[in-house]
């Protein structure tokens, strides 16, 4: 069901066609300065990083299976769709930028220069994907380095390539398990860390906060009961004392 991208760095020639196609699809300017920038920003949702010896690595939103950005967003402006893309609804967003803090890959970017800013990131061409087409970048890629398809099929394809050409690759599909798996996956001959793709645990990040949030009902019921109980004990003692005092007094009076 869920779609994804398999990027094979060994096939990439660094032509930047994907960058251009992405800019066009998302109505972003694509100037010479932007072309040189090797990072995502409000005008650039994907970039191809170059390593020595003509080795490349394409970076974009990973479209995590359990995305941290969507889990932290207090208003649900970011959402993982069934088809795979993690989409953004600017009309819901209140601009807290927690998504930028939460994303382990540093993907969501902000329109800092605008009075009314929104979050900017790759949305895996979700309108095209819904219409049954592939993403603009995959369509534009001349070598098939960026491959669009069913995530499960892509995963199988990746495994096959690793098996058939073990000497060509680092024996790892980045994104298969990282942060619980991502819709965008990579193959490379250069260790992923050299492209700042960190080794993440297979545990999805939202579980870290989820564990604590799950305790809230307990904390509420327990603390409310405890406080109520303490209140009852401490104040009852006082009430009893007062009653006893009045009793003593009345007994004295009787005498």
């Amino acid at each position: 069901m869920s779609k994804g991208i398999l990027y094979d760095a060994t096939l990439c020639i660094g032509c930047l066609e994907c960058e251009r196609a992405c800019a066009k699809e998302n109505h972003l300017p694509y100037t010479e300065t932007l072309e040189k920038q090797k990072r995502t920003n409000e005008y650039k949702f994907t970039y191809v990083a170059a390593h020595e010896n003509e080795k490349y690595m394409r970076r974009m939103c990973m479209h995590c299976e359990d995305p941290a950005c969507a889990s932290v967003c207090p208003v649900g402006a970011l959402e993982k769709t069934k088809l795979g893309p993690v989409v953004y609804d600017a009309s819901k967003c209140m601009g807290c930028r927690y998504c930028m803090i939460g994303c382990p890959f540093g993907i969501p970017k902000y329109e800092w220069s605008k009075a009314i800013p929104t979050v900017k990131k790759c949305i895996l061409c979700h309108e095209r994907v819904e219409a049954g087409k592939q993403t603009a970048c995959a369509e534009a890629c001349p070598t098939g380095a960026t491959l669009f398809g069913e995530r499960s099929a892509l995963l199988a394809e990746g495994r096959k390539r690793l098996q058939e050409n073990p000497t060509n690759y680092v024996n790892h599909i980045y994104g298969e398990k990282e942060v619980g798996g991502t819709s965008v996956m990579m193959l490379s001959s250069v260790p992923f860390e050299q492209f700042d793709l960190k080794p993440f645990q297979p545990q999805p990040l939202p579980e870290l906060t989820g564990r604590v949030l799950a305790k809230i009902p307990q904390i509420v019921s327990l603390s409310a009961t405890m406080l109520g109980g303490i209140y009852w004990i401490t104040n009852r003692r006082e009430a009893v004392e007062r009653v006893e005092k009045t009793r003593e007094r009345s007994q004295k009076d009787e005498k």
Binding site: N41, V75, C93, I101, Y110, V220, S223, L227, Y231, R242
Partner: protein
């Protein structure tokens, strides 16, 4: 009185200058965006307004729920006279935090969205709800003070009747969001420097909020005793000092046990910017205050207690700033220094807080000792009215 007049004018003059700069900063913020008014960037999206105005603001307002719990739940009625200033501080504090948030949010007019767009997986969503509900609770806890001023008996009686559940609700809500401010950072194990990242963040935030709440109450009581010429509640201040010591000890044990058992303590002995900030922070927030408070001479003297509280509060303010700023810099690969406009807005918010607090203590029955003890038995009677006749029978 004559002696203090010129001093007040001096501070007023400074405040007016700050306000003028603040007005310009506000213009920059709302007409030219966050980029023009802050040093925030894609690499560093949360800065001073989150680190200080929000995280510290909420922490420093913790005196409200701490004292309300002490007076009305634990029945430590002797603290009632300083309950009112604590509630006032808390109420003001939360209003100012919300005000600061309006500056920080990219789309401040959407601040109400969490009310209808539910996303219970988000810690921020939970914090938002708690802050909203707790501010309402504080408004209701504060209302009797205003009503008293205008001698409106009926609504006061209604509020007194619901005061106990209200206070318990306030304590529960505070427990939740004071700790949740720490949980906000649980999602960034790879970004927050190991000296501050720990699964214990919520517990640590909660404990430090309680200690700071007590510290703030000592601070305020001492300050206002000087300004308003009423006797300092020395025994109460001493009691708070002991409370602070106990809380600090627990905090210190939890913090260092966690650092040592996880092995993260090794980062404290690497010579770098983070470890320096860490040692300054823990010295101010834990070591120095604990040592001072262990000395009976300090513990029994209101003035040295006052100074100890200030040190400790600085330490915990630094803790929040370290979590929000220092600890996030290395992974972001940038050094964040707030822009002038960020600092000025923060100063404005602090200044507005102090001004309103001063005015309120002047015109509302906050420190009036006649009214405070009066109110206490009233509440006790209201709350225990039922059991008494029963017992008497």
């Amino acid at each position: 009185m004559k002696m203090t007049l010129p001093k007040i004018t001096f501070w007023r003059a400074i405040f007016v200058v700050v306000l003028l700069f603040g007005a310009y900063a506000t213009y920059l913020r709302f007409f030219h965006g966050l980029g023009a008014s802050t040093n925030l960037s894609d690499n560093f999206p949360w800065g001073l307004w989150i680190g200080f105005d929000m995280l510290c603001g909420v922490m420093l307002a913790a005196g409200g729920f701490t004292l309300m719990a002490a007076v009305h739940v634990l029945n430590l009625k002797k603290y009632a006279p300083i309950g009112r200033p604590a509630v006032l501080t808390a109420f003001l504090g939360y209003l100012l935090v919300i005000g600061a948030l309006l500056y920080d949010l990219g789309k401040p007019y959407n601040i109400w969205h969490p009310m209808i767009m539910w996303q219970p997986r988000s810690v921020m969503f939970e914090v938002g709800w708690c802050v909203m509900l707790y501010t309402t609770v504080l408004a209701l806890e504060f209302a009797p003070i205003i009503l008293e001023r205008f001698h409106l008996e009926k609504p006061i009686r209604i509020l007194h009747a619901i005061s106990v559940p209200l206070i318990i609700l306030g304590v529960v809500l505070s427990t939740l969001h004071q700790s949740s401010l720490g949980s906000l950072y649980l999602i960034v194990p790879g970004k927050l420097y190991p000296l501050w990242y720990t699964p214990m963040l919520p517990v640590l935030f909660f404990l430090s909020a309680i200690a700071s709440g007590m510290g703030m109450t000592i601070f305020e009581s001492t300050m206002s005793a000087r300004h308003f010429d009423h006797a300092l509640e020395a025994p109460l201040i001493r009691g708070l000092g002991r409370g602070m010591l106990v809380t600090l000890l627990i905090y210190g044990v939890v913090r260092f046990h966690d650092l040592i058992s996880s092995g993260r303590i090794k980062y404290a002995f690497v010579q770098n910017y983070e470890s320096t900030m860490f040692w300054v922070e823990v010295s101010l927030s834990i070591f120095i205050p604990v040592v001072l408070l262990l000395l009976p001479r300090v513990r029994e003297n209101p003035i040295s207690l006052y100074i100890t509280s200030i040190l400790m509060i600085c330490g915990f303010v630094m803790n929040r700033m370290n979590v929000a700023m220092t600890g996030m810099e290395r992974s972001a690969g940038v050094r964040y220094v707030p822009r002038w406009s960020e600092v000025v807005i923060t100063l404005c918010i602090v200044g507005v807080g102090i001004t309103i607090f001063t005015l309120a203590t002047k015109y509302l029955p906050i420190f009036t000792h006649a009214s405070a003890p009066q109110r206490v038995p009233e509440r006790t009677v209201a709350a225990t009215a039922q059991p008494v006749p029963e017992l008497a029978r």
